[in-house]
């Protein structure tokens, strides 16, 4: 080995050692891993309510959902009061189950199409329809007729993709702390309308406008059933909608919230539209043959100041069509 060869090799060895050393120092972690999962940046669902309009409720009886919902919104001043030019609207439907519209376990597609159409007519630039269903999402949106209705009305269906969830903490809530919610459809919207059917629910007594927000939760949300009234109250705390539309045209009286048979349904011919989700649910309870006091989540949401259980105190506009 001559000197030059030795020097060359020594230089290569030195570079190798320097490279290994600097890489190790660069990657060196003195502390070690932390305690748990990173939650990332927390998101907050904005307040979509319109305080200047106040708490209002319209109750319209009739069999034709397009007519009843149209009249109810008209009675509250028309969709233009709620949706302004340039608004981006999210319609939160109940698409929980892969079940045909005749079984009323999901938001009625005709109702959805009508409301989406009204939003667009009032000047909304975009109308999205979303939910995080319990059954397979594609089957749910297809079988329920919601996908087709949304498409025909010019609204966009947003399925819950894997990356669509972000973590939230709801101030003042008991249970919603660091929990993932369906965020993608909420991103950038300016108005939020909830559309829910009136259904029997064995655990909570009823599934209506407030329970509908359950479909915004991600994760293994079923653990909240251990304290169902608290989670519904928390959800109502999390979501302050522009409007809720509670569809009691056909009410699921038994075997809820899935239903599955026409025998579970009853024609109650009532459409409830309100800016106060608690009042809407309180009114909806009567369709199920209950009083608001029978449903602890209503009492608790009212106590939390989200709305009023005394929906009669809002002097509902009562109309009848057909």
């Amino acid at each position: 080995m001559d000197r030059r060869d030795f020097l060359r090799r020594a230089a290569k060895a030195g570079i190798s050692i320097a490279a290994a050393g600097s890489l190790s120092l660069w990657l060196h972690d003195r502390v070690g891993p932390g305690r748990g999962e990173e939650e990332g940046e927390l998101v907050r669902v904005p307040d979509f309510s319109l305080p200047e309009i106040g708490r209002r409720i319209a109750i319209v009886t009739g069999t034709n959902r397009r007519e009843t919902v149209g009249r109810a919104i008209e009675a509250l001043g028309g969709m233009e009061v709620f949706i302004k030019k340039g608004d981006r609207v999210l319609l939160k439907v109940n698409a929980a189950f892969a079940s045909p519209p005749t079984l009323s376990a999901t938001t009625n597609p005709e109702l959805l199409a009508e409301v989406a159409g009204l939003c667009l007519k009032a000047g909304a630039v975009s109308v999205a329809v979303s939910d995080n269903p319990i059954n397979d999402p594609v089957s749910c949106f297809t079988l329920s007729g919601i996908a087709e209705a949304a498409r025909s009305a010019g609204a966009k269906v947003m399925l819950p993709a894997e990356g669509a969830f972000r973590t939230t903490t709801v101030p003042g809530s008991t249970l919603l702390r660091g929990w993932p919610i369906l965020w993608e459809p909420l991103r950038g919207i300016t108005k939020l309308i909830g559309l829910a059917p009136v259904k029997n629910h064995h655990r909570s007594g009823a599934s209506m406008a407030m329970k509908n927000w359950y479909g915004l939760l991600g994760g293994r949300r079923n653990i909240f059933h251990q304290d169902i009234n608290t989670i519904i109250k928390d959800l109502a705390l999390m979501v302050r909608p522009t409007l809720v539309i509670l569809d009691g045209t056909t009410t699921m009286m038994t075997n809820g919230p899935t239903g599955g048979s026409l025998a579970d349904l009853k024609q109650t011919n009532t459409m409830i539209v309100s800016t106060d989700q608690v009042a809407a649910d309180a009114c909806g309870a009567t369709l199920l043959g209950m009083t608001p006091a029978d449903l602890p989540f209503i009492t608790r949401a009212a106590a939390a100041g989200i709305g009023t259980a005394e929906f009669e105190s809002l002097r509902p506009v009562r109309l009848s069509v057909g």
Partner: protein
């Protein structure tokens, strides 16, 4: 255009077509979803699927009639399928080609020389077909016992006829053949009477393990596409798919060692076609003996069929490389026999054939000794709805993974050992992995199954409507509540997510109300008014009892229903204004704080085993409600109920 260019176009087309069929096997109504795409077409073209199921079921199911096209063309043309259609062959072809690049001509010739191991595929074919033909053999063995007159008459006629023929021709028939025929008939008769034949000759269709079309479709469906995935679709999981992927990759990588390794040594479909093509009208061969011996044609011979020597017709995959590469235009695909001679029969020996036949006969009865088809059946093996009873299912399932791919909730999975060795990679339901349970209004799996192992069923049949009312809904199993894990049963916590999600009406899961006195829930009364009871101690956490699930009742009091608590402070409990105390608790008496529980029960007469409850159960590790195959419709002996379920 050069013939090999045409071949490459054909190969590329069929490979992409298969890929497309796998991709569109997704429930939906878009043009890139299932709609009317013939996604099982390659499986239907596969004559081994057809032959296997013919042997095992004595019928040719639906679209499997397509295989006739392949069979007809193979008889006329030889193994064209291997180099022109078979997508698995195309993959091997490509990888083998890449692996041989840069090698010397001599090395390439060496890699494409004929190897004795190429006979293995014929033995594998024999083994697999024998295993599928158990039924057929049973019928044959039983002839002496069941049709003795016919058998005796036939045997006598054959013996006499044979003797007369021999005498008339005056031919010298070796003595041992003269003795062999009566001995064979004797053995046949003996077997027919002495053997418990129905325990020996059992049928199991296992061709799908090695048949290239099911193999490649299964690998694409379960191992490759879920990994590569499509960005828009939700991710799909398949339990144990690593093994499927490993087998696939091993087969593909083996091409670097020997090109078309799988086709030459393993492929039972290729073997079958090698046999079918022995009368082919057109064959590859040499025009004349003027060969210069350059061996250029053997540098790329896909079948390793020795085109320069006596060509082995059964090994030739019609890649046309020899025709293309011969500089003297000596090689051709013609009706005239090769100038250098040809061997039409595969290079197999009688011993090897007998050995694989005997193994095929013996394998299934030995596997069945585990008793999995009898009393030792595994309730963890939950077949998709519409599946035939297990013995019939095993006669048809080719493990192609079509049902697993199409299932919209991703609950159909390739079985490991749940169904025994025979059941490897057959479908079983797993409600933990998927996105829900078996959807009430879905019939996809039955309509995709190419062999009818899962028969096509209608929504009416699945739900037990209309003409199926009497039979009731189709069941894949029954849900069982694990009371040691269920929150309301074991931990005094309300839940009933399972009941809520039960999709049938009326619900198969029902609840019974139970008021369970809370831990440390007996409180001593200090005083009371109609709505509020004041208690000693002051240890209550304010508001904790206000969830709507807590009730209180007087200990030792009359049988009044518990009153719902609406609020509490650290020393008082307020009940709902709707139910004030009638007999106010006196000072010194005790009240019990109770949690209202709805405890789930399963009604086996209504449960279909759809598994939605299991999927949704918030006890997310080992679920507190789990489905097992008890009461499945397909097997009356697994019924839980006296009346057919």
């Amino acid at each position: 255009m050069r013939i090999v260019t045409v071949r490459r176009i054909s190969q590329g087309f069929f490979l992409l077509l298969l890929l497309w069929f796998c991709l569109v096997s997704t429930v939906g109504v878009e043009w890139w979803q299932i709609r009317g795409w013939p996604v099982s077409w390659f499986l239907e073209l596969d004559p081994l699927v057809a032959l296997g199921t013919i042997l095992s079921t004595h019928t040719l199911y639906r679209g499997l009639l397509w295989s006739l096209v392949t069979v007809g063309l193979t008889i006329l043309l030889g193994r064209f399928f291997c180099s022109w259609v078979c997508p698995f062959g195309t993959i091997h072809h490509l990888v083998g080609f890449l692996g041989n690049r840069g090698k010397s001509l001599a090395a390439r010739v060496a890699s494409n020389r004929y190897r004795r191991g190429q006979r293995i595929k014929y033995y594998l074919l024999t083994f697999l077909l024998t295993a599928a033909a158990g039924n057929l053999m049973l019928g044959l063995v039983r002839i002496p016992a069941e049709r003795p007159v016919l058998f005796a008459a036939g045997a006598t006629a054959l013996l006499l006829g044979g003797a007369a023929f021999a005498l008339s021709r005056g031919a010298a028939i070796p003595r041992r053949y003269l003795a062999l025929v009566p001995v064979l008939f004797g053995v046949w008769t003996g077997l027919g009477f002495a053997l418990p034949a129905e325990r020996v000759f059992l049928t199991s269709l296992q061709t799908g393990l090695l048949d290239p079309i099911p193999l490649v479709q299964r690998s694409l469906n379960l191992a490759l596409l879920p990994v590569v995935g499509t960005a828009t679709a939700p991710p799909r999981y398949y339990e144990g798919a690593w093994l499927i992927g490993t087998v696939f990759l091993a087969a593909v990588f083996a091409n670097l060692w020997v090109p078309r390794f799988y086709c030459r040594f393993v492929c039972p479909l290729g073997a079958f076609m090698g046999v079918l093509g022995r009368f082919a009208l057109w064959r590859i061969g040499r025009r004349s003996d003027e060969c210069k011996g350059c061996q250029l044609c053997e540098t790329a011979c896909e079948g390793a069929c020795e085109p320069t020597a006596e060509i082995r017709v059964s090994e030739c995959v019609l890649c046309m490389n020899c025709v293309d590469s011969c500089r003297h235009d000596l090689m051709g695909y013609r009706t005239v026999r090769s100038a250098s001679g040809e061997r039409t029969s595969p290079d197999i020996g009688r011993r090897g054939l007998l050995l694989s036949f005997a193994s095929g006969v013996a394998a299934i009865p030995m596997v069945r000794l585990s008793g999995l088809l009898g009393s030792n059946w595994n309730p963890g093996l939950i077949r998709p709805p519409g599946s035939l009873a297990e013995p019939d299912f095993l006669k048809r399932c080719i493990k192609c993974g079509q049902c697993m791919r199409i299932c919209p909730t991703n609950i159909i999975h390739p079985a490991g050992m749940e169904g025994g060795l025979e059941g490897v990679w057959t479908p079983t339901l797993n409600f933990r992995i998927g996105r829900s349970g078996c959807q009430l209004r879905c019939v996809a799996c039955g309509h995709l199954c190419p062999t009818g192992a899962i028969r096509p069923f209608t929504l009416d049949e699945k739900l037990g409507r209309k003409e199926f009312r009497e039979a009731g809904p189709m069941r894949v199993g029954t849900a069982f509540v694990d009371q040691g894990r269920c929150l309301p049963w074991a931990m005094d916590r309300p839940c009933i997510v399972c009941q809520e999600n039960c999709p049938v009406s009326p619900k198969a899961i029902f609840t019974r109300e139970y008021y369970s006195t809370a831990r440390d829930g007996i409180l001593v009364v200090e005083g009371a008014d109609p709505l509020t009871v004041f208690v000693t101690g002051g240890s209550l956490e304010p508001g904790r009892l206000a969830t709507g699930d807590y009730y209180c009742t007087l200990v030792g009091g009359n049988e009044e229903p518990p009153r719902r608590i609406v609020d509490n402070t650290n020393h008082s409990v307020t009940v709902s204004p709707g139910s004030p105390w009638v007999h106010m608790p006196g000072r010194g008496s005790s009240i019990a704080i109770q949690v209202r529980l709805q405890r789930p029960y399963v009604d086996p007469a209504l449960c279909t085993g759809c598994g939605i409850c299991e999927h949704e159960c918030p006890v997310s590790g080992k679920r507190a409600i789990r489905v097992s195959a008890e009461n499945e419709s397909r097997n009356r002996r697994h019924s839980l109920l006296p009346k057919g379920g």
